[in-house]
């Protein structure tokens, strides 16, 4: 069963619907001799309804790219458009509201507010937006919770959950608002292989069954194998955008970069 979103960025001409685009994205930290060029002019189109993995060596700029795409960080140059809205045109409050309504996040660790229960953490974005738990959102909540298998852990606090369960709560929170785009930065970095598989499986199910768009930063091949597409980045530039690649193709792309870099 497949639930699709109404995507405002779907082109009337019927081309692939884009969840996000970046043009000439540049991010420089510091200046002068100390300047670090984390991103050097990235152009990227992320199609809707797909699970994209961003891969690259440590320090290659993956996290920076994600932060810029998510409006958490201001690029030095370039533009980001998400769900039809150019992020650079928004002030802080508008940007926050935009994030709240159109984006979801899953981080490597420290995803949840320790003083809230799992249920409260999941519902947090709705509460921040002042949305009441009406029929439609309740249905969505129940569905997400059911898909992620969290129903019996909802009244526990993060401290009482395992790492994998915590990540599942974070995923539920990212999905409950039906965001146009879910970002995940190394969501399995702290997990063992079984929990990793579990979490990645859920992310994939959210794309397949809930129709979400997910962008995941990772440096594990294993993790990337759950994704539909793989973006390889090195030294602040996109080196390859592979659609439905085989593991070998991804490995080759990564190797190529290492040699090339």
């Amino acid at each position: 069963m497949l639930e699709t979103l109404h995507d405002p960025s779907s082109s009337p001409t019927g081309g692939p619907r884009l969840a996000a685009t970046a043009r000439g994205l540049t991010r420089t930290y510091g200046r002068g001799d100390n300047a670090v060029h984390a991103l050097r002019g990235v152009d990227l189109d992320l199609p809707a309804g797909r699970f994209t993995a961003v891969m690259g060596a440590s320090g290659s700029g993956k996290s920076t790219l994600m932060h810029c795409l998510a409006g958490l960080d201001q690029p030095t140059y370039g533009t980001v458009t998400v769900a039809g809205t150019e992020l650079q045109s928004l002030d802080d409050t508008r940007l926050t509201v935009f994030r709240r309504e159109h984006l979801g996040f899953v981080f490597q660790s420290f995803n949840l507010l320790p003083m809230l229960t799992a249920r409260q953490n999941v519902l947090l974005p709705l509460e921040l937006a002042g949305r009441r738990l009406d029929g439609e959102t309740r249905e969505r909540f129940d569905r997400v919770v059911a898909v992620l298998g969290l129903a019996d852990r909802l009244d526990h606090r993060p401290g009482e959950l395992s790492g994998g369960q915590q990540q599942r709560v974070a995923i539920a929170r990212a999905l409950v608002t039906r965001p146009a785009l879910v970002f995940a930065d190394e969501p399995t970095g702290n997990l063992d292989s079984r929990s990793s598989a579990e979490v990645l499986g859920f992310l994939r199910r959210s794309v397949r069954e809930l129709g979400q768009t997910v962008v995941m930063v990772t440096h594990e091949l294993e993790a990337a194998s759950y994704a539909d597409d793989v973006v390889v980045i090195s030294d602040g530039r996109v080196r390859a955008h592979l659609v439905g690649p085989t593991p070998d193709a991804v490995l080759a792309a990564l190797r190529g970069q290492e040699i090339g870099a």
């Binding site: 932060h67 309504e101 996040f105 420290f110 003083m115 809230l116 519902l123 509460e127 921040l128």
Partner: protein, 813 residues
């Protein structure tokens, strides 16, 4: 956002306890003040009228002699007059001194003006009987039937206690009441508050004649009572305002403590805030949430304070009513304003204290949630603006202080004091850490690596270090300034005491020669440092009557007189007479005739004080008056050892002198009484400031407790690397002591500086060559108390830190 707010309130409650306690104490202080002042007002105001209930007129503003004249006149006319006042006299029971100073008042002749209420026994029916106040009797150990001697020497009166009374008026109450006829002989020594006057007939026509007769103020009784009530209300209000000043100091310290608590808590929760921002909380939402948190804390703390203050106030009132005369403390009925004001003050203080820390919260960007744990540095550098402002304010303040000292003006001194102190607080982040580091050298020596680590930890966050020490600095600076100022003004009081009480104790004959052995007996008494026997005789002085005339030889009395002996050694043509035995209309400089056995001399009258009731002349004058006949000892003058107990020594000497008919004058007791007043004043001020110090120490414990939570991983790592539990505890203890001792030393230095400025400004114009006196032992006690209290403050956090197992600490996120 409500869920977040409620959850964080629930989760962080424990971390807010100390801050809430600080506010609550300040608020409780305010409310207690309100309750006490209202109860005092109620008691005093409602009791003012009691002694005047049946009086038509009130005569006030007159002395004992005038009062005696008014009573005489009333008796002649068939009116009634009751003298309301007292004389401080020694009291003995069967020859044993009970007290050096008992308030002896007069009982009205007629029933109508007798306002005391009989509790036991009867009112005096004849001369030689007396009644005592119930409470005074309890504290002096008197019972109905006791035989008492009131006063000493010639004017001593023997009375039997026949009853106990309640005295339901605070303003004119005494300990012991004698019938007027027994008081009349000592009328001159009376302090007269007023006379209740009952006219036998219409009162109005009597106002003018009475006014003309007495030369005093005559008012209708109702009017007098109304005026007196207004006066008392004003006095109580002034006391309440003084107390509120201390409450303000306490609240100010509380504000420092809360501001620091918020800063620390918010720094620790920066990642929470960042995460909230990530998942879509706007800046305003986060800001509103933390501000409501502050508001709730303020409300809860202030309400707790109001409750605690109400409880404390009622408790104090109950204790006071039990111990004081009826008519001092009444029903506490503070206006709602006190409660509301206290509540408001607490809330405003908390919200104001949270303002700047909450502003820093919104500076947290969403990205900070994505940094690995520990990357969010709670370190806050001291802002340049803050430092510049600090220097500016400090320089302006010093200028004001210099001006104050030059012109002897108090307002610039207060302004300068406030400004320099603000400057020091602002400069704290650059001023305090080096001092802590300096003190850390010592702790490193003493404790080894935990000591050095403690010093490093204490200065890790300069702003936090400064804020933590600032709260203690306030209390210690003020305490030191008060102690030093008091010690210095005490030297001025010393000079004055030497003037008014040149001799500690005297035993003076009441008519006969004293035994030759008396001097040796006196010298053998414990607590006597030196004694001198003075020869003399009985003489008559015109306008005064029969007196003992002593000859003071400069060389002989030099040893027993405080200060300059000339005070008690008259010139050859002078006679020195106590001020209170001067006859009506007599004054210093008058010529008087002094007669001994028919030989008379005209001498210049000089008034003085402090050697009893005898008159004093130069030795050659006495020789001339007695025609060279031998004169025996008529008085023994005594200087006590330092620290001798005035009551004990007085009692011992009285026991020696009484069989020989000698009268004791106890200047040492008077001196001790004055010093006691000073000590009580100092102690009250220090105790009131102590509340601010307690709040500050709660603050230090709190900072440390919060830091311990923050450093859980670090401590676990240290423990894993081999730091023992004991070492960890001493690490935290050393940190607390470093902070409190540094604050105390800095505060002591500042306090001494302020005391110096205060002395130069206020005391120097009055007392020449006033030099700063450092009460070194007291200051040492202040430093030690701060150090020990600092240690106590860290007990709880240190225990918690040491209890956590290393593995649990490392697992902390």
């Amino acid at each position: 956002m409500r869920t977040v707010l409620l959850a964080s309130l629930r989760t962080h409650t424990r971390r807010y306890v100390a801050a809430a306690l600080a506010v609550a104490i300040g608020v409780a202080f305010v409310v207690t003040t309100g309750i006490l002042s209202s109860a005092t007002k109620d008691g005093m105001v409602s009791s003012v009228g009691v002694p005047y209930e049946n009086a038509d007129l009130v005569v006030s503003g007159l002395d004992g002699d005038q009062a005696a004249a008014v009573v005489e006149r009333a008796r002649e006319r068939g009116d009634h007059a009751s003298v309301l006042g007292w004389s401080l006299l020694p009291l003995a029971e069967d020859g044993r001194r009970v007290s050096d100073r008992v308030e002896v008042g007069a009982l009205a002749d007629g029933e109508a003006l007798r306002w005391q209420e009989l509790r036991d026994g009867t009112f005096p029916g004849q001369a030689g009987e007396a009644v005592a106040d119930v409470n005074a009797a309890k504290s002096l150990g008197l019972e109905v039937g006791d035989r008492l001697q009131v006063g000493t020497g010639a004017r001593a009166a023997d009375v039997t206690l026949v009853g106990l009374v309640d005295t339901p008026s605070a303003s004119v109450a005494a300990d012991l009441y004698l019938p007027w006829d027994a008081v009349a002989p000592i009328a001159r020594t009376l302090y007269v508050d007023s006379i209740a006057y009952d006219v036998a007939g219409p009162a109005d026509p009597q106002v003018r004649p009475l006014e003309r007769f007495s030369g005093a103020t005559v008012q209708a009784a109702d009017q007098f009572v109304v005026d007196r009530q207004a006066e008392i209300t004003k006095d109580v209000d002034i006391v309440a305002i003084v107390l509120l000043v201390f409450a303000t100091i306490a609240l100010f310290v509380a504000v420092l403590v809360i501001a620091n608590t918020f800063s620390i808590l918010f720094a620790q929760r920066a990642r929470d805030f960042a995460l909230l921002r990530c998942v879509g909380a706007t800046r305003r939402q986060v800001l509103r949430s933390v501000r409501i948190e502050g508001l709730v804390l303020g409300l809860v703390a202030a309400a707790t304070g109001v409750l605690a203050g109400t409880g404390t106030g009622h408790l104090l009132v109950a204790v006071a009513r039990d111990r004081f005369d009826e008519g001092t403390i009444g029903e506490p009925s503070p206006s709602a304003g006190w409660y509301l004001g206290g509540l408001l003050l607490g809330v405003v203080a908390t919200v104001a204290a949270s303002w700047f820390p909450t502003r820093r919260v919104v500076a947290v960007g969403p990205l900070e949630a994505l940094q690995p744990a520990g990357a969010v540095d709670p370190r806050t550098p001291a802002g340049v603006v803050r430092l510049a402002a600090g220097v500016l304010v400090l320089v302006a303040g010093v200028a004001a202080l210099v001006l104050a000292m030059a012109d002897h003006e108090v307002p610039p001194m207060l302004a300068g004091g406030a400004a320099t102190f603000t400057g020091v607080l602002l400069l704290g982040p650059v001023l305090v850490p080096p001092l802590v580091r300096l003190a850390g050298l010592v702790s490193g020596r003493l404790l080894g690596s935990p000591g050095r680590l403690a010093a490093a930890n204490a200065v890790r966050n300069p702003r936090r270090t400064a804020a933590t020490t600032a709260s203690l600095l306030v209390g210690v600076t003020l305490t030191t300034a008060v102690l030093t100022g008091m010690a210095t003004s005490r030297t001025a009081v010393d000079d004055e005491m030497d003037q008014s009480h040149p001799v500690d104790l005297t035993l003076t004959s009441t008519g006969a020669e004293l035994p030759a052995t008396l001097l040796d007996d006196v010298l053998a008494t414990d607590g006597v440092r030196a004694a001198a026997a003075l020869p003399g005789t009985t003489a008559r002085v015109s306008g005064i009557g029969e007196v003992q005339l002593l000859a003071a030889d400069r060389a002989a009395v030099d040893d027993v007189v405080h200060g300059e002996p000339a005070i008690v050694v008259p010139g050859p043509d002078q006679v020195l007479v106590p001020w209170d035995s001067l006859g009506a209309g007599q004054a210093g400089g008058d010529q008087v005739r002094v007669t001994v056995d028919g030989t008379a001399r005209t001498l210049t009258l000089r008034g003085g004080d402090g050697w009893g009731s005898a008159a004093v002349v130069a030795p050659e004058t006495l020789t001339a008056l007695t025609g060279g006949a031998a004169t025996g000892t008529r008085s023994v003058w005594v200087q006590a050892e330092d620290g001798a107990d005035p009551e004990d020594l007085g009692g011992d000497l009285d026991a020696l002198g009484a069989p020989a008919g000698a009268e004791l004058a106890n200047g040492l007791g008077e001196r001790a009484w004055v010093y006691l007043q000073l000590d009580v004043l100092t102690a009250s001020v220090v105790a009131l400031l102590g509340i601010a110090v307690v709040i500050a120490l709660i603050g230090i414990g709190n900072t440390l407790g919060l830091s311990v939570l923050e450093r859980g991983r670090e401590h676990a790592l240290l423990r894993a690397l081999g730091l023992t539990r004991r070492q960890l505890r001493s690490l935290l203890g050393a940190e607390a002591v470093l902070l409190s001792v540094t604050a105390t030393l800095l505060g002591t230095a500042l306090g001494i500086a302020y005391a110096w400025v205060g002395v130069r400004t206020m005391v120097e114009p009055a007392v020449e060559a006033a030099t700063l006196q450092l009460p070194v032992p007291q200051l040492v006690v202040v430093v030690l108390v701060a150090a020990v209290a600092g240690l106590l403050a860290c007990v709880l956090p240190a225990r918690r830190a040491a209890r956590t197992a290393p593995a649990a600490g490392l697992a902390l996120e």
